[in-house]
Symmetry: none
Subunit: 490 residues, 2 copies
């Protein structure tokens, strides 16, 4: 059924002959507010409903609402909806277009559709260091002085070729060091030639998806999944199909019908939920990929940090010549700002993807890579990981204790495995975790809402709490503030 | 501390149920070598260390090493240790199909169309350092010791936030340093907020083209142009329209009909020909862009190196609020492997493109950026450029002298301006410069064929000769080899 407001807006929309839809809708609502046909404090329909009523995409409506919100025409009240602002400043009634409005209006005319879509789902936190920020290790615990000494050793007499652009693939010393490390620590089977050094996982996924997918090709991603993968894949025109995750990881269908080109998984430690993919699922997934010719992209972002039981070997090494593209990063084991990661490429792809990498990104930073190779081969890397594993295990236990003490056992999501750099705090289904997270953020507590990691409907509600970078003392006081936010919202 | 090799061997030793210790160890190492998990040239731990790690007597380890040595599996190098032999006969006998062989047939069925297209026009040189390689500065002349000191100062007490992911835009200190530098050196008008630090020009163009162009949108590029721009734009689905360059630079049409979304130019020093865009052309281009809503992307890659006359101010600063996206790099002024560059964004775009950068690439490396900011603000950057300008001017004169002495004045392309890091040696129209360049490359002379920089038919023929990284003595002998190649081809 169409609402009254919907009727009004439809009439006026129809009266506007041309222009882009979002611009027309924006003008219509703004005009209706200014001339009083949408009086102060009147309720606007939920974006989803209005979209259905007006036969527009929900994104169009959301975008218009956001712009009106930013300009003060409407306000949003948690849990009750969107309303016309009580007082629309007089200035708006008489003023010519403000420069901000101007910019906002013009901006969308400049940006590409893929650009606008990216900004609408933009997810990177505006702050990259602070209480409970997930995904960040304790960068202060890194042995900076030691690493600087190694860097100095390497860069004292750098070879000219180390200072130029990189050959395809990156530093051979780092490739060799990684072969050894990955074999022992992750049961990854590869030769140095299969390793391609990247700037991190974003670049790795960008390369793989552009080189293997045509626009319109399909990729499975876990539901929920890391927002960065969604951004990169969507930007490259790849169609995402979310596949639900349960306690045993992603649950692939039994038949290969409609199999995708790429299957993105985090088998060792599902991001963000935290569960481990079972052996049965791994074998089924490998069998499916072999049968359909799909490539599995295994993102092994933080598997080094497992605090009890055996380390979980990588999917890549489970069978010989697995149809798996393995990607790892030093962002979690060392520090994110280093911006180094790697791909382990299946033999049939290795030369093509290395060449493409040099063409698209022009590598370099061979001195940094040589230093890192020494850091690994001299044993400092595994030693650092061992130290961090102990430290993070303590911090995780402390945070889990705080959560259980304050909110009961059920607040610790059953998905949480004893691993990683963050915990998921479960919230009741009716709770708006996005609003809660945004309120906490304003108070300096950089938790993230679990629902934000879902593509589709029916997300689990919760908060991601990073514990790795938090000293135990500050953890307690920060958790108190978070608790206040939670209680205000329940 | 246990070595990685030690870890591997321990795992495998444990897996063998019975047999004498030395036999088990022999089998384990031999098997690891044969199946490649101990690859050729990888280092084995000293016998004493391995004995300790594996809780064996040193004699057992020594005996096994001696046997493997006798059988040719490992080699011993005095003073450096024991290594897996480079060629192990057994492994060759049992090896599966070589990856190359395997790859050839299957590869195209895996790759996307855009991926195959990229590989077909792949252009990055397989070697990134050597005689006459264009586009590379003298990386040995960079004050490495000084820069290392500055880096140490910054990284002695790094703030945690400098080690995490970057905020949108990069280090503020570097943005501020660049505002000053660009104003004075390049007449660029901007505020710090307009500057976005990138990994280099490839990333800058990738970001701009994805955010501003829909697939199928049009961009003008200069004919000829840098191959990297073509690769990135084509990968992003942008349709390229080459616009011919004459001695006054790109010649834009007089009407705005069919104007593109983006116009890529190198006004200060056309790449690769070397000419400068005239003021009349600049004004026409700016007027056209204003009229049609196109954005001009000004790639100012090496304009610092101009050896006579006044420096040529950037297009960006010619008028206020120019519709220009300016991009620069430290690859030519410092060294390519540093992988840092920047965009100066027009105000309407700056927030959107910074947000998009954080979403797509996740920046970092703030410590490197802070160090570079100090390097600039303390005056070392302009001092280094001044020194290099004198050095490159000498080298350019020497190379020009060699060319004219051997091949006459007409061999120096009329496009060459007294600037930059390379010269264009003109060849007769009938000459196949690609074949010539490939023959020279095989003899270690890394010149590049001018025709390779053209999209369309009727290219000028010639060779790009980088002179910046060549000492004058080696230049002469390398040029002799090149001359032989030229004479064999004419």
């Amino acid at each position: 059924m169409r609402s009254l407001v919907g009727d009004l807006l439809q009439l006026r929309l129809d009266a506007q002959s041309d222009g882009k839809l979002h611009k027309k809708l924006y003008n219509t609502i703004r005009h209706s507010i200014l001339e009083g046909s949408l009086p102060p404090q009147s309720r606007l329909p939920p974006s989803r409903d209005l979209a259905t009523e007006l036969h527009l995409s929900r994104n169009t409506v959301l975008r218009v609402y956001e712009q009106l919100l930013a300009e003060g025409y409407i306000v949003s009240r948690t849990g009750s909806g969107t309303f016309v602002a009580q007082t629309v400043p007089d200035s708006l009634l008489s003023a010519p277009l403000s420069p901000v409005e101007n910019a906002a209006g013009e901006l969308s005319s400049h940006l590409s559709n893929r650009g606008q879509a990216l900004l609408q789902r933009s997810s990177a936190s505006p702050r990259q260091w602070g209480a409970f920020l997930p995904g960040v290790p304790d960068v202060n615990a890194f042995p900076h002085a030691l690493f600087r000494k190694i860097q100095s050793r390497v860069s004292r007499k750098p070879q000219a070729s180390q200072l130029s652009y990189s050959d395809a693939g990156g530093s051979q010393a780092l490739q060799l060091a990684l072969v050894d490390y990955l074999r022992v620590a992750r049961s990854v089977k590869c030769s140095a030639g299969q390793i391609l050094i990247t700037e991190g996982i974003h670049q790795a996924i960008d390369l793989v998806s552009r080189m293997l997918c045509n626009p319109g090709d399909k990729a499975w991603i876990e539901e929920p999944a890391y927002w960065g993968i969604r951004n990169v894949l969507t930007m490259n025109g790849v169609n995402l199909e979310p596949v639900d995750v349960d306690l045993a990881g992603i649950n692939p269908p039994d038949t290969g019908d409609g199999a995708p080109k790429l299957i993105f998984v985090t088998p060792s430690h599902q991001y963000p939920l935290g569960c481990v993919m079972s052996l049965e699922r791994r074998q089924r997934l490998l069998a499916l990929a072999r049968q359909t010719g799909s490539w599995i992209v295994e993102d092994d972002y933080d598997s080094e940090f497992r605090f009890s039981g055996q380390p979980i070997p990588a999917l890549q090494g489970l069978v010989d010549d697995a149809p798996v593209i393995y990607t790892g990063t030093f962002s979690k084991t060392l520090y994110p700002g280093l911006r180094l990661g790697y791909l382990v490429l299946p033999r049939p792809l290795m030369q093509a993807l290395k060449t493409a990498h040099a063409e698209l990104y022009r590598g370099g930073r061979l001195v940094d890579q040589e230093a890192l190779a020494l850091f690994i081969s001299e044993g400092h890397y595994t030693a650092h990981i061992r130290r961090m594993r102990l430290l993070y295990a303590r911090r995780r236990a402390r945070l889990a204790g705080l959560i259980v003490a304050a909110l009961g056992k059920e607040a610790l999501s059953e998905f949480n495995d004893n691993a990683g750099l963050h915990l998921v705090l479960s919230l009741p289904e009716h709770c708006n975790d996005a609003v809660l997270a945004s309120q906490a953020n304003q108070r300096g507590i950089l938790v993230r809402a679990l629902s934000r990691y879902y593509s589709g409907a029916h997300p689990l509600k919760g908060l991601l709490l990073g514990f790795a970078a938090m000293e135990e003392e500050t953890m307690e006081s920060a958790f108190k503030v978070l608790l206040e936010c939670i209680r205000e919202n329940s």
